[in-house]
Symmetry: C2
């Protein structure tokens, strides 16, 4: 591998995304992406006694699904990279505690899926591992309870707010395989532009997405037109618009190739989610369910996947802090 | 690099731990390790308005300290790996939001320091980076508030409980340097033996430490006597005793070389911490303050550093879950 430009690593022996799996909850099952997911669960509890336990089950079953699809024995998967939004990343650690694979806990808020794939691809590309697993989840009910208000209160949500996706996505990265390949990673810096509204995550995260996007272009010498699709994690409708405009001011017209998983996962008109979807499970399920298949079937050849995260918690909001954003990008090519 | 045995990676071009820094709080400043730390802060708030902001300041100042000691310009440090115990790892993201270095958030509870060094050393050893930064923190007051009870309640602590270290440690890993070198990493699996007492973390984490310890010995063919010191992160007095006994039953007598940072950082007789220190900041500050210097000065030549984490939160405890443990090990040699 080699370091190119300021932040990007180019893999000379790029890892293959061997297989991907996704499981989503009830609202996502009624959205436009429903047919692409492996499983649509009609019950937010999925038979468990709490939302937290349900979220762990989403992770566990998604990981079990991707391993079984790949045909690789668990003993041949050397390392696992996983994280989520719950305090101390409990969905991942409880969901995967029986997995018996060396475990790296990752926290990048909603950027966790791509952060995991950055780290996982390093292990594969460097020869340290033949196969690694990357997994992420979020759950609307556990996230609302933890970050905002108990659902039972029936609080009104402002128009800028996004709807945390109930879902999980997981991929296996492998040294053997015929693609799609992770050819470049561009890990991002923390960017805090002073946004303090915890109900407007899109605006808080868009500047971080911009920084990573532009750095990726500069480091690789590529332009937006190089990609069939540039996909952000969960900026939602408002954040998507902000990023498109910000990129334009920097001389990059991304409008024709750019979309956001938070925009894609719900129907703006029929599903009342305000500014779209969010949560680590958003990009994880939409990539694993939809984009991975597009690449695998050759319908898309090159995509830039950028997951964005807001690195705050409810205490920092209460203490009047602004919201630091981060965005990690990977280039995936067939 | 090459993968040896079941879980271990051996670096053929091992990264150097170029420099280390540590800052601790008032109780640690009265303990037996006080003289080894770079700074001892007498005020838990360190002039900030909240414990969370104070903890961020510990991270920020420690990182600033290690960079300045290393003499490396910030622009030559390519990636940063950091995490902590607070919900959504806010000490790290707020403490380092102005750092301007691509950032990987890591969560391994109290195993975070060594987890970060595992990941960081991979980036350096693979040639993806010349210099990386690894940092971790914990804070007694913010941790008690979040995991247990508000300090103002004056709750009594059971004898098995440990005292979260207020402190931070940071290291710079580099491709250039004359050691001490990280020669091997043995990332651990999640181990849950069913312990449910959140006031007995040592017992919950000891089986994970055992699993990683034995795997490291088996993978490398080494024995306890190979090392001048085997150091765990924060098993405390009870956990240390359990690990020593468990290792004995598996045929490894570690008693003569083994110690624990939670045992070392406080004076058992003069400081009322019950079972010793804990928190990500424990191993981070004790390694950066004491062991790094022992290695640098040639007083120790080979140490095995094992950080242990309890991957739970207060919700899982309330929901009656047991405590999954994890332990990551690195071998450091001059």
């Amino acid at each position: 591998m080699e370091r190119i430009g300021e932040q990007t690593i180019k893999f000379n022996t790029p890892p293959t995304i061997l297989e991907a799996a996704s499981i989503v909850g009830p609202k996502e099952s009624q959205g436009p992406m429903a047919k692409y997911f492996d499983q649509c669960i009609e019950d937010e509890f999925w038979g468990e006694k709490s939302w937290e336990k349900a979220e762990s089950k989403f992770v566990k079953e998604t990981v079990s699904g991707v391993i079984s699809k790949s045909g690789i024995p668990v003993s041949d998967i050397e390392y696992c990279f996983a994280g989520d939004l719950l305090n101390q990343c409990i969905s991942s650690s409880f969901g995967l505690r029986e997995l018996n694979i060396p475990f790296f806990g990752v926290f990048g808020a909603c950027s966790t899926f791509v952060e995991s794939m950055c780290l996982g691809s390093m292990f594969v590309a460097s020869g340290a591992a033949k196969n690694v697993l990357c997994a992420t989840s979020s759950h609307f009910c556990s996230a609302e309870k933890q970050f905002r208000f108990p659902l039972e209160l029936g609080n009104q949500r402002p128009p800028t707010s996004q709807w945390t996706v109930t879902g999980s996505g997981a991929v296996i990265l492998s040294a053997c395989g015929t693609g799609p390949y992770i050819t470049h990673i561009t890990p991002g810096k923390i960017v805090d532009m002073g946004i303090k509204d915890a109900n407007n995550m899109g605006a808080a995260m868009a500047p971080a997405a911009l920084a990573t996007l532009i750095t990726h272009f500069r480091d690789t010498g590529r332009k937006p037109s190089y990609y069939d699709a540039i996909i952000t994690g969960d900026l939602g409708h408002i954040g998507k618009e902000i990023l498109t405009e910000l990129a334009e001011t920097k001389g990059y017209n991304i409008a024709s190739v750019y979309n956001d998983c938070g925009v894609l996962i719900f129907d703006k008109n029929k599903q009342d989610t305000h500014s779209g979807g969010s949560g680590c499970g958003c990009i994880a399920s939409v990539f694993s369910g939809y984009f991975f298949k597009q690449l695998k079937q050759g319908k898309m050849k090159r995509i830039l996947l950028i997951a964005t995260g807001a690195l705050m918690n409810s205490t920092t909001t209460q203490q009047g802090e602004s919201i630091p954003g981060i965005a990690h990008a990977i280039s995936i090519e067939v």
